[in-house]
């Protein structure tokens, strides 16, 4: 698998990250074994999780292909513009020499100015360059919150414009060559200032340093090709006027074409570097990488759905009005004789119940906050067997112990009482009832 991204893949990655739900529980040990960097890992993830021709793939393909078509159109346009511009400057009807200053000024000087502007903007107004680039940026990328392909796209656009610059210069050169080969062109120079030909020669020499001074007109040629409107064309030496074209073309090559080639190489290099190591520092990419590399830790239950069915609803216990006196049964924790006696007296007073040790019926104290156990139900059944079917069994449900106001117990929680009533209904005993303890308010 390739470790470097293509612009289409990176765009597809962005689309998948932001426009589609990414499954974040995607730990894959193979992915970790085969990759050494975050970029490589995410690249492999993209290739592995591609599921046929998805919308993201199609979308990114359309974006990249559209960019290619636009780039081609831009090249053709630039080539034609270059040729047309050169043609405009190389019009020669035989009545006036072609002024090399116009040709150089626009086709070389203009381009150099543009390059200086670019360098200055890169240093001082980077933000504005980005704004300009965003005009050319695919709409899809502009709508994504943190696209990883953004920098790659910026360099792609940059190098596309440099290639357009190359096409422009090629257009200029081809047209110039065509004109030179098929027309009789005569170049000259002019200046209102009393500039002598030596000064122009020095300028020409300086400009031709990059190509070691070759293809430059000699001082004589320069002197002979001076445009003097008062003397007309009669004084002009044809060899001298023709000697300028190699120099002009070399100027376009070295000051127009080569910088664009260098910038294009630089842009392509930056683009490739960006594609080899894209910026995956956005939180969404970090999150995906975290999940790809995180060994899974699961918590799961062995529950089957049937285990979670709520238990059937039980009946509640019928109300019981005891007939006659009852014998008090206290819990083990409450068998201090003095305490028990005082509590018995309070029950008689508060609940108007008659308590007697000789009575057949029973008044059993239960702590309602304790859940009713099977064991408790068994005890009640055994008690029923021992006292016979006619005697009453009344359960007095009490809350937490509370001696602070001499009330012995708090009132039971209504929810606890309900639980007890429900559970006691299982005993199926018509002489069994439950009563809540009501302490003095």
């Amino acid at each position: 698998m390739a470790s470097s991204w293509t612009l289409q893949e990176l765009t597809e990655f962005d689309v998948r990250m932001h426009k589609h739900a990414v499954d974040h529980s995607v730990y894959s040990p193979e992915l970790l074994e085969n990759t050494t960097s975050k970029s490589e890992c995410l690249h492999h993830w993209l290739l592995q999780t591609r599921d046929g021709d998805t919308e993201a793939t199609r979308l990114s393909r359309v974006v990249v292909h559209s960019e290619r078509v636009l780039q081609l159109s831009l090249w053709i346009f630039s080539l034609l513009t270059g040729a047309a511009t050169a043609a405009a400057f190389l019009r020669y009807e035989g009545d006036r020499l072609i002024n090399i200053s116009s040709y150089l000024g626009v086709l070389v000087g203009g381009q150099l100015l543009l390059l200086c502007g670019l360098a200055l903007s890169a240093l001082l107004f980077r933000k504005h360059i980005h704004s300009l680039q965003s005009v050319c940026m695919p709409k899809l990328i502009q709508t994504l919150p943190s696209p990883s392909s953004l920098q790659a796209w910026r360099w792609k656009i940059f190098s596309s414009f440099q290639k357009a610059g190359i096409a422009f210069n090629v257009g200029v050169l081809l047209l110039t060559l065509w004109k030179v080969l098929t027309y009789d062109l005569a170049f000259g120079w002019a200046s209102t200032l009393a500039t002598d030909s030596q000064s122009i020669y020095r300028i020409v020499k300086t400009l031709s340093i990059p190509w070691l001074g070759e293809f430059s007109p000699t001082p004589e040629h320069i002197e002979q090709s001076r445009i003097a409107l008062n003397t007309g064309l009669a004084q002009i030496d044809p060899a001298s006027t023709a000697s300028w074209w190699p120099f002009l073309m070399m100027c376009v090559v070295f000051y127009g074409l080569f910088p664009r080639i260098l910038l294009s190489i630089f842009g392509t290099f930056k683009l490739h570097r960006q594609l080899a190591n894209p910026d995956f520092s956005s939180p969404d990419c970090e999150k995906l990488y975290l999940n790809l590399t995180r060994k899974p830790l699961h918590f799961f239950s062995t529950d089957t759905p049937s285990d979670n069915h709520p238990p059937p609803k039980r009946d509640t216990l019928r109300a019981l009005v005891p007939s006659g006196s009852l014998q008090l049964i206290l819990p083990k924790e409450f068998q201090d004789p003095a305490h028990a006696k005082a509590f018995a007296a309070r029950i008689q007073e508060r609940l108007k119940l008659e308590l007697s040790d000789a009575a057949k019926g029973r008044l059993k104290i239960i702590e309602a906050w304790q859940p009713p156990l099977e064991e408790t139900l068994r005890e009640l059944r055994e008690l029923r067997e021992s006292i016979g079917p006619e005697a009453d069994i009344l359960l007095l449900a009490v809350g937490f112990p509370d001696d602070s106001r001499g009330e012995f117990f708090q009132e039971p929680d209504p929810q606890d009482l309900e639980i007890w009533q429900s559970r006691l209904s299982e005993v199926n005993d018509s002489r069994l009832g439950i009563l809540p303890w009501r302490p003095q308010p």
Binding site: L150, K295, L297, F299, F300, T302, N308, E333, F400, P401
Partner: protein, 470 residues
């Protein structure tokens, strides 16, 4: 490798299922205030890389402690066959169904975690259960799970438990934090020395998982903030200029989108911490996090305070004024710097946090094509401070919410801090976040990675901090 087994036993309705739920981060554990709802043993497993490492078994409560203890006390045979014999002897007795279920993990020699609600009095049936477990002789730890505030009965429980259990620990299943859960794993490692290494491994893995979850949450916070920071709403209009209802509609769409982003982030955090059933917001409840993002109260209490905003405004104003002073070659004697600071400070003071909610929607503007009302990207840093505040408060609450706590209606309701968290930040921290906002306003800033690293480190440290208020 067979997983380590621990059975959670106890009296009915003592909070066994809550303990299991909290320990295994499971929302599937059925928790009911009605006793006897757990009728069968249910296993909850922790697996690392598809390997089951720990099994926590939820069991029904003891229904016949006295009779069961009596049977064990009267057992005459080999002690190793005691549990099997008990199961065999009571297989046909329906009233022992729950007790037989309890015996299944004991038969498999599982470690015992005995859960007791120490906020109620100790009773004879409790002593019988403890005695019974002592008889069976498996490694056992008691967990004191106080369901109420009452701690009067705690000494009595501790005394009784210490006599019969290898270890006694307090563990409130409704409030246990992550570190308390880890402490419990540490204690379990002491319980069975031969399992100590395996339990330490599990503990380490849990700690790592927790750290990674926090890391992912921090990334989620940053992702939410960036999404809200750069969000734009465009609504086309045909007339010469947009009407007020159109502007209002655009603003409302912008606010609704931001609320949606926040809710989506909260949902992801809930999934991350296995709290899927917790609410994103609680309707009808009064709480700062239940309030919608643009509520007046939220803008009043969260984000930067009025004075902090005034200072920030003064700094921005003075910077703008200083530029004018410099441009004038210093002949203005710093008048513009002072004026800028004064205007900026006053403007922020008057327009302060209370009016923040009203300031949105941001002023509508036309695009170059003169056909769209555009709201966003957010130009008010206070919105980011508020979003960060809300995210941190929500995450802190979520991280500290025990899975055994099922009163979900209280999840967000009772968060009523006097102010948000960013107000307590140092000047440096606030400046760093302000710089983060500026850098991330547009994608592709060269300083973005550095600013993000700093931001993530700060939020991560903050979420890891043991002093993080709940």
């Amino acid at each position: 490798m067979t997983p380590l087994k621990y059975a959670v036993l106890g009296h009915p309705n003592e909070g066994k299922s809550s303990v299991v739920s909290t320990l295994t981060e499971s929302e599937k554990v059925r928790i009911s205030p009605t006793p006897g709802q757990t009728t069968r043993c249910k296993s909850y497993v922790i697996s690392i890389e598809s390997e089951e490492v720990l099994e926590i078994i939820d069991t029904p409560g003891f229904q016949n402690p006295a009779a069961t203890l009596q049977w064990f006390e009267s057992w005459q045979g080999d002690e190793s066959e005691m549990v099997d014999a008990f199961i065999k002897a009571h297989q046909q007795d329906k009233s022992f169904h729950h007790d037989l279920e309890i015996m299944i993990p004991l038969q498999e020699r599982a470690g015992v975690l005995y859960v007791a609600d120490a906020s109620r009095p100790l009773r004879e049936s409790d002593r019988q259960e403890m005695e019974l477990l002592r008889y069976i002789g498996l490694p056992r730890m008691a967990l004191l799970n106080c369901k109420r505030e009452n701690r009067n009965f705690l000494p009595e429980w501790e005394a009784a438990l210490k006599r019969r259990f290898n270890l006694v620990r307090e563990f409130n299943a409704h409030r246990a934090s992550f570190s308390e859960r880890l402490e419990l794993f540490d204690a379990m490692a002491h319980l069975v020395p031969e399992q100590a290494a395996a339990l330490q491994d599990i503990r380490k893995r849990l700690q790592l998982e927790w750290d990674l979850r926090i890391e992912e949450s921090v990334l989620g916070v940053e992702s939410l903030l960036i999404q809200c920071l750069r969000h734009q709403v465009k609504i086309p209009f045909k007339e010469d200029k947009p009407s007020n209802p159109q502007l209002e509609k655009c603003g409302e769409k912008y606010r609704a989108d931001l609320r949606k982003f926040e809710e989506k982030a909260r949902r992801q955090w809930r999934q991350l911490f296995h709290h899927e059933s917790l609410p994103g917001s609680t309707e009808g409840e009064q709480g700062l996090l239940s309030e919608e993002l643009f509520a007046e109260k939220v803008w009043e209490l969260l984000g930067l305070s009025r004075s902090q905003l005034a200072i920030a405004g003064a700094i921005t104003g003075s910077a703008a004024g200083a530029a004018v002073d410099i441009a004038a070659g210093g002949i203005t004697f710093g008048i513009f710097t002072a004026g800028g600071a004064l205007l900026g400070g006053l403007g922020s003071w008057i327009g302060g946090p209370k009016l923040g909610a009203k300031r949105l929607p941001l002023p509508g503007k036309r695009t170059l094509a003169r056909e769209n009302i555009v709201v966003g990207p957010a130009r008010d840093p206070q919105l980011m401070f508020i979003l960060l505040d809300r995210s941190l408060l929500y995450l802190t609450r979520l991280m500290n919410w025990a899975h055994g706590q099922r009163n979900h209606e209280h999840f967000l309701a009772d968060i009523t801090p006097d102010s948000g968290l960013v107000r307590s930040w140092s000047e440096r921290q606030r400046k760093e976040f302000a710089a983060w906002i500026k850098i991330h306003s547009h994608p592709g800033h060269p300083e973005a990675e550095k600013a993000s690293r700093k931001f993530r480190r700060q939020v991560n440290t903050w979420l890891h901090s043991p002093t993080t208020p709940e």
